[in-house]
Amino acid sequence: MHLLEVEKLTKRFGGLTAVNNVSFHVDEGEIVGIIGPNGSGKTTLFHLISGFLKSDSGTIKFKGENITGLAPHKIANKGIARTFQVVRPFRHLPVIANVMVALKSPRGAKKIEWIKTFERKAIDMLEDVGLTELMLEPAENVGHGDLKRLEMARALALEPDLLMLDEPFGGLNPLETDFLTKSIQRIHLDHPSRGIVIVEHKLYALMKIVKRVIVLHEGEKIAEGKPEEITKNKKVIEVYMGKAM
């Protein structure tokens, strides 16, 4: 049984078909990348899987269970956590509270070991991404790079079985990119059964971490395979022609 199984997923917006008959799967412990030029439907795909958009047709199965059409918070509580392409912090809350919101959810609360309080657990999560210094800072005062890490800490707080990252490297400088790559690798090692899906633009960052890559173009899956195969794939090169790799 696959951890995540997406079958023939389609989403139309008026005349535009954003996701067209896309099928793929993610297994436990896999890190899968989804790439494609702008507008290829990557983020829409994320919204569909995480419940923020309803598909027109197709099914989504998580751990064997059909989750198509479920509300986003229910999907989150089933074990799928996602980040957003444009960071969405809770601006009025301090950094630590941002993480605590996720811990307060039914799933987060379940996973807290009984001796640890919410705050201590949140501090642990912040330590994992290196944000403890900013713990009490209202999120609105925090810089972009740190907010990206906060996104991830919040998603991790749900202790998901499937972690979906939407362009986590967006807007990061090389140092931050390196740090994030190492963080993702460490998270993967710490939780070997967790599946990770990463949508990304910057291929070079992705290639080091993912095991398998899916390529989308205009809503359709045009290629799938190991990173080395994909970079040699003629169709993919055509589609990305002129775009920096």
Partner: protein, 309 residues
């Protein structure tokens, strides 16, 4: 058992009120569309217009000029008041909807009490724009109402043309769709806000003069809340920021109101053995708005929701 006269009355009066409500709502939706401001003082601007008209067009205070000059002067004066007040009180807190509400409510209270001080709490006359009675389709309608109706629709049409065809109008639409992009394109949003506010205020004033002169023919310091609610109902139902929405919403509200007053209310009164009550028509209008919102959370023509489950 439905009388033809009843239907005709509803159709004719519904249309007439609809046109005027559209003008009233237009100002409100315009300033919202461009600057995201909910102007709780919209009814007050309506009211100032009626009072200026009263002062200028009747012998009161020793001044009396013609109806049309009075109308125009009042519109200009209220436009200035609106724009200046906006700049001084609303602009500093723009983007903070609650502070804007506080500021506009306070302004409305100041205006209300100023009118009480200046003219007393009792009713003051607002002159009719025309004399005489006409018969449209079997229904007796005053020329005053017809004129007000025609004027309302004419102004509405003029404004629609302005917004769609002129450069400034296009700037207004650009800002209402995406403020940041518009600013990047070099549009001076600050001036645009003032201009829009001036237009919105003058529309409210003109609507005020047309509506009061053609219906009860009076104005008083507590006339503004009802006009405010009416504007809300129309604009919410039609969709905030949508000009088309104000027009459609105005007619829907107007027809619901007139159907209720002419047809349904008397029936209920018969059944429940209660006297006919005008008090329920406000509630009916609001209920209609609620029903539409439940089906369309952003009004009939409001911007679509982007992301939801």
């Amino acid at each position: 058992m439905v009388e033809i006269e009843l239907i005709q009355s509803i159709l004719v009066y519904g249309a007439i009120s609809g046109g005027m409500y559209a003008l009233l709502a237009l100002g409100f939706t315009l300033i919202y569309g461009v600057s995201d401001v909910i102007n709780l003082a919209h009814g007050s601007l309506f009211m100032i217009g009626t009072y200026i008209f009263f002062v200028l067009a009747t012998p009161y205070g020793g001044i009396q000029i013609g109806l049309l000059p009075a109308l125009i002067l009042a519109a200009i004066f209220v436009a200035v008041i609106g724009a200046v007040t906006f700049r001084l009180t609303v602009h500093p807190v723009i983007g903070d909807p609650l502070s804007i509400m506080v500021v506009t409510i306070s302004f409305a209270m100041i205006i209300q009490e100023s009118m009480v001080l200046g003219f007393g709490s009792y009713r003051q006359p607002v002159p009719s724009l025309a004399e005489g009675l006409a018969t449209i389709w079997g229904v007796k309608v005053t020329y005053s109402k017809i004129l007000a109706f025609v004027a309302s629709l004419a102004l509405f049409a003029i404004l629609m043309t302005f917004v769609t065809k002129t450069k400034i109008g296009r700037a207004m639409r650009a800002v209402s769709q995406d403020r940041e992009v518009a600013m990047l394109m070099g549009i001076n949003t600050e001036m645009l806000y003032l201009l829009t506010m001036g237009i919105s205020a003058s529309l409210a004033a003109v609507a005020g003069m047309l509506i009061t002169s053609s219906t009860a023919g009076v104005t008083y310091p507590h006339i503004w809340p009802q006009q405010l609610y009416l504007s809300f109902a129309v604009v919410i139902l039609g969709g905030l920021g949508s000009i088309k929405g104000s027009l459609v919403g105005a007619f829907i509200i107007s027809y619901v109101e007139n159907t209720f007053v002419f047809a349904i209310d008397p029936i209920i009164a018969d059944i429940l053995n209660l006297p006919v009550g005008g008090s329920l028509s406000g509630a009916v209008i609001m209920a209609t708005m609620l029903l539409v919102i439940l089906v369309r959370p952003k009004g009939l023509f409001g911007k679509r929701v982007e992301l939801e489950e």
